[in-house]
């Protein structure tokens, strides 16, 4: 027996991403989130029956980047639209991809009621503590003291209130089957995020109710930092306020190994 060396592909661009180049700023973790969702769609083999719902915000063009069926919702109304699609076509896998302005601000009513009704949809929530697309205003998730263009002295909790912890909030609703928070700032956490995205789809495929994965994300342009500094800022400032963890995991999912 002789041995020869042959080239093996360890990683390649997932098939569920189109060939379009993304419009995101260099180092934006939206790209990582897109890639993970596409990888999970490839792994589960559900691309042909997946329907995504795009939000308003930086990720408004998500439909150009995923190679599956996609619709664009009005601002904040992605969970309502996903509800309609899922009820009409229950054999499809329906997910929404929303930022913090879309989900936690204007779309607060839709997301809470979709979770409360236990709609069998998956929600991917990108939390970067700022409004990215409109040039860095204060979001509901902006940290206390964080400077933004609409809170130039830092967020003063006496007048501007406290940030919303969406994962904790939605995990209290009975309709939710899987609600977790993950971060996208280093390889370990990105791997954990991918597992969570996989479990969110598994929740939906098993009909266990509403699933949401909150992904802590960066906005280097509006934070005024380099892509590498933003990852550090996320780790040092956001994770203490938004702890990574599982807030609700339905019983049948606990035995699942992915």
């Amino acid at each position: 027996m002789d041995t020869t060396l042959s080239a093996q592909i360890v990683y390649q661009r997932p098939q569920s991403l189109t060939e379009a180049t993304m419009h995101y700023c260099p180092g934006c973790t939206h790209g990582i989130a897109h890639r993970l969702i596409a990888e999970v769609m490839d792994e589960l083999g559900i691309r042909e029956r997946t329907i995504g719902v795009a939000p308003v915000g930086c990720s408004v063009f998500a439909y150009n980047y995923f190679d599956c069926d996609f619709v664009e919702a009005a601002h904040g109304r992605a969970p309502a639209m996903a509800t309609g699609i899922k009820r009409l076509l229950p054999d499809r896998v329906v997910f929404t991809y929303q930022g913090d302005g879309d989900l936690a601000s204007i779309g607060m009513g839709e997301i809470v009621h979709a979770a409360g009704r236990g709609e069998n949809i998956s929600v991917f929530f990108i939390n970067n503590a700022i409004y990215g697309m409109t040039s860095g205003q204060m979001a509901p998730t902006t940290l206390p003291g964080q400077k933004t263009t609409s809170s130039p002295q830092g967020r003063d909790v006496e007048t501007m209130g406290y940030p919303l912890r969406m994962a904790e909030l939605l995990s209290n609703l009975d309709g939710a089957g899987y609600v977790v928070r993950r971060s996208l700032h280093d390889p370990k956490n990105i791997r954990m995020a991918k597992k969570a995205i996989r479990l969110a789809f598994e929740t939906q495929l098993r009909g266990l109710g509403f699933s949401m994965v909150e992904l802590l994300s960066t906005c280097s342009t509006n934070w005024g930092l380099s892509p590498l500094e933003s990852l550090k800022w996320l780790e040092e400032h956001m994770i203490p306020y938004y702890p990574i963890g599982d807030f609700k995991v339905a019983e049948p999912l606990k035995e699942l190994k992915v």
Partner: protein, 78 residues
């Protein structure tokens, strides 16, 4: 002997954000200052031997611009 690997960078996608550069466990990645991508960024490139094909750069890459290869020994009947 550690596994030998290499990466291919699709310059259509790479935006030179350096997220892969900082996480590379072998420190063999850097921006290629002599090249520009069609978008006008300096693309990332291998700067030395030692790549093991671990794929951590691809895990960090927000643009899915990297393809990672590894040499694996395969037995062939004599």
């Amino acid at each position: 002997m550690p596994a030998k690997g290499w990466i291919e960078v699709n310059e259509k996608y790479c935006k030179g954000c350096e997220l892969c550069v900082s996480e590379c466990p072998q420190h063999v990645l850097a921006l290629d200052m002599a090249r520009l991508t069609p978008k006008g960024y300096h693309p990332v490139a291998l700067i030395g031997d030692g790549c093991t094909g671990c794929g951590i750069c691809a895990i960090m890459c927000p643009e899915a611009a990297l393809t990672v290869f590894r040499e694996v020994p395969q037995k062939v009947p004599a």
